[in-house]
Point group: C2
Chain length 308, copies 2
Amino acid sequence: MERALVSNLKSPVPLIPVVGKHITLSGGKRIRPAVLLLCADACGYRGPRRTVMAVVTEYMHTATLLHDDVVDLGTVRRGKPAANMLFGNSVTILVGDFLFARASQLMTEDGDIDVLGIYARTLVSLTEGEVLQLTRTRDAGITERQYLTVVYCKTASLIAAASETGAVLAGADPATRGAMFGFGKSVGMAFQLVDDILDFTGTEKELGKRPFQDLREGKVTLPLLHALREADAPDRETALRCLAKKEPGKRDVAFLAGLVARHDGIGYTASRARSFIRGGKRFLRALPDSPARSALLALSDYVVSRTS
Amino acid sequence: MERALVSNLKSPVPLIPVVGKHITLSGGKRIRPAVLLLCADACGYRGPRRTVMAVVTEYMHTATLLHDDVVDLGTVRRGKPAANMLFGNSVTILVGDFLFARASQLMTEDGDIDVLGIYARTLVSLTEGEVLQLTRTRDAGITERQYLTVVYCKTASLIAAASETGAVLAGADPATRGAMFGFGKSVGMAFQLVDDILDFTGTEKELGKRPFQDLREGKVTLPLLHALREADAPDRETALRCLAKKEPGKRDVAFLAGLVARHDGIGYTASRARSFIRGGKRFLRALPDSPARSALLALSDYVVSRTS
């Protein structure tokens, strides 16, 4: 799969594989390919189409990362300069488009209209999630339910696509396919909530990017959302003032982080993440026992215990 | 088709149809849908799938326009403020992604793997063309052959996809399908060369954008490429100095435009465009006479006679 990730970046335009390799080989966790490969295996398919679809999933993810770097004016990603800092916004956008295009090409060569449908639907979700998040920037009025919709769209939908695709490759029945979708969705929800937590608790070294980046970008994630819900009126008003600033200073960030600490926004979010993971594991009961199924259980535990 | 262009922008995220309508309804020429609808008709298909595929083609085009506006730092498009000026780069990129996604969704719902293959391949070409153009910015060393590759990738490939899709909808035999691809490719090459000409000869009102925009962006299009080829050494050196500037001034632009005029870069490019159109018309001989075929001949003439 790692080899195929690189070989499919080939293009007569030499800059494309250069930028593509920069982002592809900068040490992502490969959670989406892992979910796809293991779900296919756990459902009974171990053939070569797994590799192609794992590449499709990772390219879709990588394309959204490239566009996010431009959208969020990112400077560091996975511990290295973000692509937009090295290659400029234009090339970064276009190589993102190239990865979407190559993923589509790999799927049409594979020829499974079911899989194409899953990823088309997911790409709609991913973009809707990103736009929704942008329109909710610095908006302290977002409800937990609305926030979880953003999380589903921008993160969980693609992990659910990966797990569902695994089931489709194995020719699973609709119930198993639904269970695999449910598993990926649950893991994806937990994965994003843990990302939200790490923005508060991680170091730059662990994260590969600056901590409190979500706060600086005005993203009201679940830890802050919970704290705002629990805070008294004066604290809430101060928080809204900090949050309203286009470029919050150190003191604003410190106040918001302190508020999250005082109302245990981290503990609350972690418990929500663990609850998603419990739900995800229940979906795996639909599968027979196997090493791949055990690995999916271990992957679930990793998602809520990881520190980077 | 116009109704379907709007109705398929629907999304639970209200900003998406707002931005989508801004760009979709700002008065494009609809050359790609026209080619698709007429080619399908001329090959014998007049059913409802034409509308869907015409929308797919126009969405793909519109998505690239949105990303181009960010890439080229566009300020005016189709006589209105470019989307990035009104909605910011982030939303513009993401709504472009949404349009790619919706186009994929429409194709997978339609379910024709042949059509999906055409557009996947074309999307790869479109992005390669844009990156190639970027890497050749302010590069006076580009050959006509290399420039025509850029033109094929960034413009003609999508018009060829539209005409080929028309043939596929009609269930045409491989020879007819190939001829329709050839027709769209020729029309697309001519269309872009005329665009290059209009950048020199059109008024802001006719173009819906500032004239000499390509020159200011350091794009060496065919009129300039021809003039550089014909110029004597001192003129060529002055031209290279003008072209090398990241922000060329009025005098630089005037010198380059004068050089193009002296060496009749416009006349040369127009003759190349007419030659592509002659080639395109020859491909239409493969089809029986019909009103749609006559309309394609008229469309071909329009492409090289248009002034906006």
